[in-house]
Amino acid sequence: MSQKPTSQKRTIQFKLNGYPVSADIQAGDTLIDVLTQRFSLRGARESCGQGLCGCCTVLVDKKAISSCLYLAWFADGTEIETVEGISSGSQLDPVQQAFIDAGAFQCGFCTPGFIMMVRELLKENPDPSEEDIRHYLCGNLCRCSAYPEIIDAVKLAASRQREAATVA
């Protein structure tokens, strides 16, 4: 047989949620494969496999990407943040807390992807309008359709974030 892409191997190194790690990968591996198979992380999930649903959203060098389409090879030398990296111990990230308080999920499968995107949204725009929210998050799909509650959660997180900023 001809040389299959999977037989091309290399070792990549990157920071995962702040810690330096390395992984032996094959050329065809995507970042979601490495996160779930090599590091047994559960937060990013492959659903549509085409970058259309947002369930696999993680940050690479502070930029949100669909890890089902992102070749692991390109993660070499980057800093990767997943939902596992945004809370510390029992202390949840404010966006996570807002999702609980607004009841912004049902089955929860899409939730980590939404939370990662909402954090990006609020970094770029601390006071988003409903229209801003809808547009920014339209690449994340929720089949349980907890959309009204997700909008509530974003508004709640944004107002808490602004309050915290005022106090500080």
């Binding site: 047989m1 299959k4 999977t6 094959q26 065809g28 591996d29 494969d33 779930t36 198979q37 047994s40 992380l41 559960r42 937060g43 990013a44 999930r45 659903s47 549509c48 496999g49 085409q50 259309l52 649903c53 369930c55 997943t82 939902v83 596992e84 809370s87 949840l92 996570q96 807390q97 999702f99 609980i100 308080d101 009841g103 999920f105 049902q106 089955c107 929860g108 499968f109 899409c110 939730t111 980590p112 939370i115 929210i133 809808r134 547009h135 998050l137 339209c138 690449g139 994340n140 799909l141 929720c142 089949r143 349980c144 359709s145 907890a146 959309y147 009204p148 509650e149 997700i150 909008i151």
Partner: protein, 762 residues
């Protein structure tokens, strides 16, 4: 009987018990599971919709380094001699058996330790088929000489299908009949006759966690970890396939990333079990999003409805002919045919009713249950029909519905009385929310506006059983063991609230043990809005049983009734240390009378009635057909809401999902080949599709025999949403679109026809 203790758990919108696990990504789904020594299976699928398999060439796949084994039906047969499964009919082979019946049917499987290797090797398999003529349309299938199955093979689990055994030369898997009064006489006496035909399209559940099963069969024990809504049924069916007792099959289901009726009965479990048995290693199969379209879908359906109406606007006769496109394998389609057939004349008080409802096989992917068991497709027809009659008669659509409404205490055509069904209030609330008495500016130019309402109801699968166990530990803490699967509807939380209310403790202190058939007792399935009513009652009974046992415990220790010794102290006194258990059990099966097969008559055909309605306001751009849903209102009767927040979210979520089935979602086929099996081309609603104004509410009502007055909420807003939008569009443009999805193209063409404008070619 209800307990008088009020612990404040009912009507309390506590957060989901598992909320933290879901926002941190820690929640357990089968999706993540990997077992030591596990193989991944990748399915090779049929490329023809109907054909005899002449040859399958697996040599190239087998030669790929890392491939453990390539499996076809011949291999499966060495471990399971009769490898056919299904809930209603044993018609579906574990892998294609000499013949394929739809494009996308599993034909072979590659097993490898590396998922990518399995994928690459699968792509090297080739198969030769001798194509057979195929039948795709449900109406063609009724009379076609092309037969999808040589003979019908009903499962023994449904005694009422026994008479179909061995029937040949037909695609009709089941015909359901409902006969009430004299429909011909009714038509004769009527002043006006209306007849219309409507169609609903095939669509798909699209759970974000695609179908996945891990099977581990070794030493006469089968353990399945599976994203299933019905672990008890999976156990029964796997035990039957293997010829083993049920106690040698263990089925676990953690959280599900959505289900919506898709993950019911038996899906990947038969294949993964057979593979694991064959290779004596754990096997995992995870479908891709595309493959989900080949697993299970919602029935396409053609519904012809004819009504006889008096000059006063009273409907006195109605005849319904509903044909359900079940695809290549029956799955639970026969039940959909019966259940939706039961209510297909609508929630109206009609003296003469005739219903024929047919499940038919075609060469399309199989269809089964999807949030409503067919009720949404039938409501699409009877509620558009209702508006068309009202308009023709010059009667306001709401007044017309009130005039004909089936009210509590009146018999449904089956003979079962309508009880605890707040249809009246649903209409009242819709009218209020839509401000119906206010005249609507419908516009006269390019932009036209319209509004519409629709109501509907459904029967609930019956008779079905739920069993629950409450287990107190010696420190006074307790676990609740239930087979209800939490797929997002919030059953863990609601069941904990019901138990906590009876036990007079805090719901969040209860640990709910997820479906594991080695541990959790039987439950028929998480389906058809049944869990809150059935399992909720079983949980209430189990908690009451535990309370009784706690009281007996005290008496045995010589304590007076009404003592206030805490439970941990009781355990210590009895056992001399922190030890022991108090176990309460509860089992529930509602009353039911099997309907007469010729007339559908029964005095108790459903445990309760599911009731919902919707209203919509739309704006149509008549130059393009593009329309906007300005306002969408859902009103449901769910009895007492145990957890109002989560109940409302069920109504809201089901409404948005149904909106997808109404305006965008459609499985498009070309010669039996699915052309849009991806989220790129099959559009489920996103945040951008949300109506501008979206309202969800439930009526002040009570299901008298439900736990604390509750009944199911999962499908109530699925039922009538499509016709509400359809009626609003018709109100805006003057004509009804007879088939879903309602696309801008269809609206534009309908407008052109209605206006006598030249039609644009397809």
């Amino acid at each position: 009987m209800e307990t008088s203790i009020a612990a404040g758990n009912i009507g309390n919108s506590i957060a989901r018990l598992e909320a933290r696990d879901k926002v941190t990504g820690r929640a357990e789904y089968t999706h993540h599971l990997r077992l030591p020594n596990m193989l991944y299976g990748k399915i090779f699928r049929s490329t023809v919709p109907h054909g005899l398999i002449k040859h399958i060439d697996v040599e190239a796949a087998r030669a790929v380094p890392g491939v453990f084994r390539v499996v076809t039906i011949e291999d499966i047969r060495t471990v399971i001699p009769h490898p056919y499964y299904g809930p209603a009919f044993h018609d579906q082979p574990v892998l294609a058996d000499g013949k394929v019946r739809f494009a996308g049917e599993p034909v072979a499987v590659v097993l490898a330790e590396d998922r990518r290797v399995a994928e690459e090797a699968m792509a090297l398999i080739t198969a030769e088929y001798e194509p057979l003529p195929a039948v795709y349309d449900e109406n063609d299938a009724m009379s076609s000489k092309v037969f999808v199955h040589d003979e019908l093979k009903p499962a023994a689990t449904f005694p009422d299908l026994k008479h179909l055994k061995g029937r040949a030369g037909t695609n009709v898997a089941l015909d359901y009949k409902l006969r009430h009064g004299d429909v011909d006489k009714g038509f004769e006496e009527a002043d006006h006759i209306f007849e219309h035909t409507f169609q609903a399209q095939q669509c798909m559940h699209t759970p974000m966690e695609p179908f996945v099963t891990v099977a581990d069969v070794v030493d006469g024990r089968a353990t399945l970890h599976t994203a299933s809504q019905g672990p008890s049924f999976v156990r029964i069916e796997i035990a039957r396939l293997l010829g083993w007792p049920e106690n040698r099959v263990r089925v676990r289901a953690p959280f599900l990333g959505g289900g919506f009726g898709g993950k019911l009965y038996i899906k990947l479990e038969a294949l993964t079990t057979a593979l694991s048995l064959l290779v004596q290693r754990p096997v995992k199969i995870s479908l891709t999003m595309e493959e989900q379209f080949f697993m299970i879908t919602r029935h396409a359906c053609t519904f012809t409805i004819k009504s006889g109406v008096t000059s006063q606007g009273k409907v006195i006769a109605r005849k319904c002919r509903v044909v359900w496109n079940g695809g290549a394998y029956a799955d639970i389609g026969p039940r959909v045919t019966q259940k939706a057939g039961l209510t297909s004349a609508g929630p109206y008080d009609i003296d003469n009713v005739w219903v024929d409802s047919y499940a038919v096989y075609t060469n399309r992917p199989p269809a089964g249950a999807l949030r409503g068991f067919g009720a949404p497709q039938t409501a699409w027809a009877y509620e558009c029909h209702t508006d068309m009659i009202a308009k023709a008669m010059g009667i306001d659509p709401i007044a017309f519905r009130r005039l004909n409404l089936l009210r509590n205490g009146r018999p449904h055509p089956s003979g079962t009385l309508l009880t605890d069904a707040a249809l009246d209030q649903v209409i009242d609330r819709l009218a209020a929310r839509l401000d119906w008495d206010r005249p609507l500016d419908r516009g006269t130019g390019r932009i036209r506006r319209g509004r519409g309402i629709a109501i509907g109801f459904k029967g609930i699968t019956a008779p079905t059983t739920s069993v629950a166990v409450v287990n107190f530990f010696a420190d006074g803490s307790c676990n609740l063991y239930i087979g209800t699967v939490d797929m997002g509807q919030g059953s863990d939380t609601v069941m904990a609230q019901i138990a906590a209310e009876v036990l007079n403790i805090d719901a969040t202190s209860i640990q709910v043990i997820h479906s594991d058939t080695d541990v959790t007792p039987y439950d028929m399935g998480t389906l058809g809005s049944r869990s809150t009513f059935h399992m909720g009652t079983a949980v209430r009974l189990a908690a009451e049983d535990a309370n009784r046992k706690i009281a007996e415990f005290g008496r045995a220790l010589g304590l007076p009734d009404g003592h206030n010794i805490p439970l941990p102290e009781l355990f210590k006194r009895k056992y001399g240390m922190q030890a022991g258990n108090i176990i309460g059990t509860g089992s529930f099966i509602p009353n039911y009378e099997k309907p007469d097969p010729e007339t559908g008559k029964s005095t108790k055909v459903t445990p309760f009635w599911g009731v919902g309605g919707a209203g919509a306001e739309v704006e149509v751009d008549t130059e393009t057909g593009h329309f906007t849903i300005k306002k969408l209102v859902n009103v449901a009767d769910i009895g007492v809401a145990i957890n109002p927040k989560m109940a409302t979210m069920q109504l809201s979520g089901a409404g948005i999902m149904q909106m997808g089935f109404t305006i965008t979602e459609n499985m498009v086929f070309n010669d039996g080949q699915l052309t849009n099996g991806s989220l790129a081309d099959y559009k489920i609603p996103s945040l951008l599709d949300m109506p501008e104004e979206y309202i969800n509410e439930y009526t002040e009502s009570r299901q008298k025999d439900g736990p604390f007055g509750a009944k199911g909420a999962g499908e109530a807003t699925s039922i009538a949403l499509s016709p509400a939008i359809g009626n609003a569009i018709a109100d805006a443009i003057g004509v009804h679109i007879p088939d879903t999805p309602i696309t801008p193209e269809k609206v534009y063409r309908a407008w052109c026809r209605a206006q006598g404008l030249p039609e644009v070619e397809e």
